[in-house]
Symmetry: C2
Subunit: 241 residues, 2 copies
Amino acid sequence: MFLAKCHELDRSPTLAAMNPVAAPAERSFRNRQDKYDERRVQLAESALATLGELGYARTSLREIAQNSPFSHGVVHYYFKNKTALILHCVRYYKSRCMTRYDEIVDTALTADELRRGFADKLLETLRTEAPMHRLWYDLRNQAMFDPELREDVSAIDNGLCDMIDRVLTRYAELSDAVPRYDRNVAYSMLDGIFLAALLEHLIERDARTEAGETDDASATESSDRLRDKAFTLLPDLVAAP
Amino acid sequence: MFLAKCHELDRSPTLAAMNPVAAPAERSFRNRQDKYDERRVQLAESALATLGELGYARTSLREIAQNSPFSHGVVHYYFKNKTALILHCVRYYKSRCMTRYDEIVDTALTADELRRGFADKLLETLRTEAPMHRLWYDLRNQAMFDPELREDVSAIDNGLCDMIDRVLTRYAELSDAVPRYDRNVAYSMLDGIFLAALLEHLIERDARTEAGETDDASATESSDRLRDKAFTLLPDLVAAP
DNA sequence: CTCAAGTCTTGACGACTGTCAAGACTCTTC
DNA sequence: GAAGAGTCTTGACAGTCGTCAAGACTTGAG
């Protein structure tokens, strides 16, 4: 047992592992460590898929394992316990979703282009990542009951607030205006609109698939409305300087 | 077994029961029926208290019974199963909270009075009914995963939207203005702000009690900020006609 | 009082959960 | 190829859950 196991925060690469021309023993170590990390990512992805489908409450370790190439016992080899796995998932998820609008922010040349790009992206993520979004809201809600989740949930929430703030600040710049509201207020308002659209979207979506419709089930009228709402609302979130 | 049991929607009073000078047998029937209804209310209240404390996921029937004067088996005498109890709770909860701002709407004489009254009431309900609010958000979120809850959740959500709409419509009237946003958009935005404040409030609150502070634990800085936010935001939600 | 209907408690059931230990398998190193 | 560390599977454990049936207690009618 010379490999760092799940029991500690073992994210720091060892000294030897930093060396590009390592001795065979050390390269092997690297390989093992890489494989180990890869497995954790693999498990996190299986867990996220399951969590997005069933929600935090009804997701069991056996269910997660069934959505992965492994058996249920393996989880405790890579993670101390269930909450450790879920927290790892949450952080992993965070690292992927925080930069969603950055490309648009960086490339848009006019306020209207940014506004349209943002609204389109909002629509797209609602349609293609609905399970992940409902999982996020589920976790954030669980944090109201379970203090163990609060630190990570707050971190993600702040990150999302920053993400929105970058959009609004840039939009204000391009509009020769200034943000009208406190960043947290603006974030909360947009988040509330997105949350409502998500709920409506999921209800519509399931109603369609239940009716046996063969259309692209991810396209709903509610998600279309979300784009319009965001598009219309954005100018109201800035004010003349 | 001549009394209507839990297995059906038995809310309709019988013909005989409508008679104010009923025969003894019928009065007895009324008494029994009343007691039966009272028990259901009693159980619903115990369940709501438990749900507000533990959340939807971690609330068991045994826990609910422990917060009531009864034992765990009695639940299945008054409700078909767990979901029936919870749905009953949800409807019961709905009937109590929908009129929260109506008195202010009806009595306020000026726009500013309404605005202040609304913001104060918002603050008050955040502080005194935090567990119920987080339960509501929990249930609404569960509806994203569990179709069984959607009908009731949608009904409540619409009711809350109406409630907010009454406030805004009246506020617009008193301001010689008109509502600026679609009612659903306005509701979603205010809801988002309230949700964020609730989460922040709970975190602050628990951090204080954990630190062993003896102050009135229901008062937090975040809840104060909520009042200011609502107070400031309200004028922006209406526009010149 | 007697009896029956209504009400509630108790204890059990099968299913499911997170956790963990024992062992089998795989791969690297000598 | 032998040895041993690393990886994964299997099966069991203690606990909890929703559900339900059997019976004890309570209440009111005759």
